[in-house]
Symmetry: C2
Subunit: 363 residues, 2 copies
C-alpha cells in the first residue's frame, strides 16, 4: 500500500487500481502529446475516438464476444437503464419479466411498473434477499420481451452462480457490481449493463454490452437520448459523452487485460472472497453472514456482529486501521466489505486479521 | 502558456483553467487527506457532500440568486434536458414555447414535438440563424408552460444581448455555452441549464439552476430519474452522481470567484471577443463574420474566408502554431474560435496576430 492510501471497501464509488490512477495523473495536463488534458479534447478528435474504440474492443475481447455485440457508453447510471430498458423493449403488448433478488432488482422492476409493463418472474424478498432465485423459482411471463436479472446484489451480498435458462427470451442483466470480475458465457446474455463505479472506473458512465440486433431500435415516441438505436448508430457520440469517465474505463479494462483477463480476476476474487468468508465461518458464530452460502457474492461480503454496539465499534476501529467503508447498507445492517477487482489480496488479509483480533477482544 | 500546452479553441469539451487542472492533478491520488482519489470516495461520504454543497453555494452566489433557487447536477447532457423539460412541465394541455435560434434550440424544440407539446414562438432559421430573434419577433403561445431559449448559439456564434420579457411565463434557458461568463439578472429566469464542458468543467454533468417551486414536481408517470423533484429532494444524490465532474465544476466555479466573479469574467470575455471581431472587421472583407453584429457571441466567434481552400489552409497553419480547434461546424463552415472563460487573452491575441499575418500572405 502506497503511503497515505487507505484500504477502501466502499461499495461504489470504489477503490481503483493504483497503476491506473497514477497513469491518469501523469498525463492529466497533456494527453498523449496533444497539449490538452483528456477533459479538454474534442469528443470528435481522432485521439478521443481511438480511446473510445479501444475501450470497446478490449471489453468485447475480455468477454469473448464477437461483432454481433456492441458496447455503448451512456449516462444516468443503471437507474436510467432501469427506465430505458422497458421503454425500448417492453412494447406492443409485451412485458418485462423481472427476477427481484434485491433492492436494485426491485428498482428496475418498479420502472417497468411505471410504464405498466412490469412482471415479477421470481422474488426472494420473503427470504430478506438472502439467496438469488433458483432456476425452478423463475416463471417467465408468456409475453416477456426479456427476463431481467440483477446478477450481483451489492446490498445483500448475493450473486448468481448460474446463468438462468430462458428458452429464447432475451436475457438482460444488471452487472453493475460484478462486471468483468470473472468469465461467464456472456453470449447467453442479450443485454448487459453496468454503472462503472465499482469494477470499471469513475461514476458517471454506464457500460452497455448488447446484441446489436436487439438494441437497433429507434422508436419515434421515445426521447432521442433514450433510444438505444441512436447511440448504437452514433458510436456513443450522438451528444458529448462523459469523456473522462470513458477514458478511465479504457485504462481500467486495459489493466484487467494486463493482469491476465477475467480468469485471472476470477481467481484473485475467489481467493479474496474465501479469506473473508472463512473469517466469518470460523468465528464460532461471532460473525454471521447475511447471504445463503450458495448465493454468496464474490464482490460484496455482508455480515452481522452480535450487537449494533459492537458493529459501531468494529467500523470505528477498522477505520483507525485504514480499513475504510465497511459499514453495511441500512437495509441489511452490519458490515459489508466490497472487494472489487482493484482491491488487493493484502487489503483483504488485513481486514481478515482485524476481524480475528476484534473477535478475540470482544467475543 | 505552459510548455507543451496548446491554445485550444474547441467548442466543447474545451480549454479549462490550468490552475484547476494542476490542483486536480496534485490531489488525484489522495483527496484532502482521505487516502482515496476523488473518484474512489463514496458519494455518501461527508467529504463528497461538502464538495457538492460548496459548488452549489458558489454557483448561486456567483449568479446572485437566493435560496428560492437550487442547483442540480444531472447526467445525459443538455440533450437529455431537452426531453426532461417538456416531460416535466408541458402537461395538462400546456405546451412548451420555443425560440428557435440555432441547431440546439431546434433540437430542444424537436424533443417537445416528440411529446406533442412543441410550439415555435420565433425562429431565425430563414436568416441562417445569423441573429437571435428580437422581443418583437417572439410570440409566446397562450397556453405556454414556459418559453425556452438557447441563450448562446455555439454553432452560429450568436448570443442574446437582452433578456426576453415573457409577461409571467416561466423563462427557461439553455446556457450551455455561456453559463457563468457574464452577469445577468438571473432572477428573470425560472430554469437555466448548461452542459459543463464549455465554461464549467469536464463533459459528463449538466448544471441546472432553477426555482425550487418550479422543479418540485414528481409526476408518477415519468421514469424516476427524469423527475426533477426527485433530484431536488435528494440533493442530486438519488443515485450515484458523476462525482469527478461535480468536483471539477466545484473547482472551476471557485476559480471564477477567485478571478473576481462574473463581472471580471465579462470584462475579460468582452476584451477577447473584441480582439477577434476587430480582426474580422478590419480585414477589408477577407474575413466575413457569420453572426449579425448585434447578435455576436462573446463565446464563439464564427467567420468565413474567401474560399474553402483557404479555410483548410488556415486550419492547418493555425494548428502548426498551436492554435487548435478553429474549424467551424459543418452547418456554417469556415472558422469558429471558442473563447470561453478559461481561454487567455494571450491565446486570443496570438490567434488575431495569426489572422492578420495569414490575411497578408493570402489576400
Amino acid at each position: 500500500m502506497e503511503a497515505n492510501r487507505v484500504y477502501n471497501f466502499n461499495p461504489g464509488p470504489a477503490t481503483q487500481p493504483l497503476e491506473v490512477l497514477k497513469e491518469a495523473q501523469a498525463e492529466f495536463l497533456n494527453f498523449k502529446g496533444t497539449g490538452e488534458s483528456i477533459i479538454e479534447i474534442s469528443h470528435r478528435a481522432k485521439e478521443f475516438e481511438a480511446v473510445l474504440d479501444q475501450a470497446k474492443a478490449d471489453i468485447l475481447s475480455l468477454m469473448g464476444l464477437g461483432d454481433d455485440y456492441d458496447v455503448l457508453f451512456l449516462q444516468g447510471g443503471a437507474s436510467t437503464q432501469f427506465a430505458m430498458i422497458p421503454m425500448n423493449f417492453a412494447r406492443d403488448g409485451k412485458v418485462g419479466s423481472y427476477v427481484v433478488s434485491g433492492s436494485f432488482a426491485e428498482k428496475a422492476y418498479k420502472e417497468a411498473e411505471i410504464l405498466g409493463v412490469g412482471h415479477i418472474a421470481a422474488t426472494s424478498k420473503d427470504d430478506d434477499f438472502r439467496h438469488v432465485p433458483t432456476q425452478d423459482e423463475i416463471k417467465i411471463a408468456d409475453n416477456a420481451a426479456y427476463l431481467h436479472l440483477c446478477y450481483n446484489n451489492t446490498i445483500y451480498g448475493t450473486e448468481y452462480h448460474y446463468i438462468p435458462e430462458t428458452n429464447g427470451v432475451p436475457l438482460v442483466a444488471d452487472m453493475s457490481s460484478d462486471m468483468l470480475s470473472r468469465p461467464l458465457d456472456f453470449s447467453k446474455f442479450t443485454f448487459i449493463y453496468a454503472g462503472a463505479q465499482k469494477n470499471l472506473g469513475p461514476a458517471g458512465v454506464v457500460v452497455v454490452v448488447a446484441k446489436k440486433s436487439f438494441i437497433d431500435v429507434k422508436h419515434k415516441d421515445i426521447p432521442t437520448m433514450l433510444r438505444y438505436g441512436i447511440h448504437l448508430e452514433k458510436n456513443s457520440l450522438y451528444n458529448t459523452p462523459p469523456a473522462f469517465c470513458i477514458y478511465m474505463v479504457g485504462k481500467t479494462v486495459a489493466w484487467i487485460k494486463a493482469q491476465g483477463g477475467l480468469s485471472a480476476m476470477a481467481e484473485r476474487n475467489a481467493k479474496k472472497a474465501k479469506i473473508l468468508y472463512d473469517a466469518i465461518d470460523n468465528s464460532n458464530g461471532f460473525y454471521k453472514g447475511h447471504a445463503a452460502k450458495d448465493s454468496r457474492s464474490f464482490m460484496n461480503v455482508t455480515f452481522r456482529l452480535p450487537s449494533e454496539e459492537l458493529e459501531k465499534k468494529f467500523v470505528d476501529e477498522a477505520k483507525a486501521k485504514s480499513l475504510c467503508g465497511v459499514k453495511g447498507h441500512r437495509s441489511v445492517g452490519g458490515m459489508r466489505a466490497s472487494i472489487y477487482n482493484a482491491m488487493s489480496i493484502e487489503g483483504v488479509e488485513r481486514l481478515a486479521d482485524f476481524m480475528e483480533s476484534f473477535r478475540k477482544a470482544n467475543a
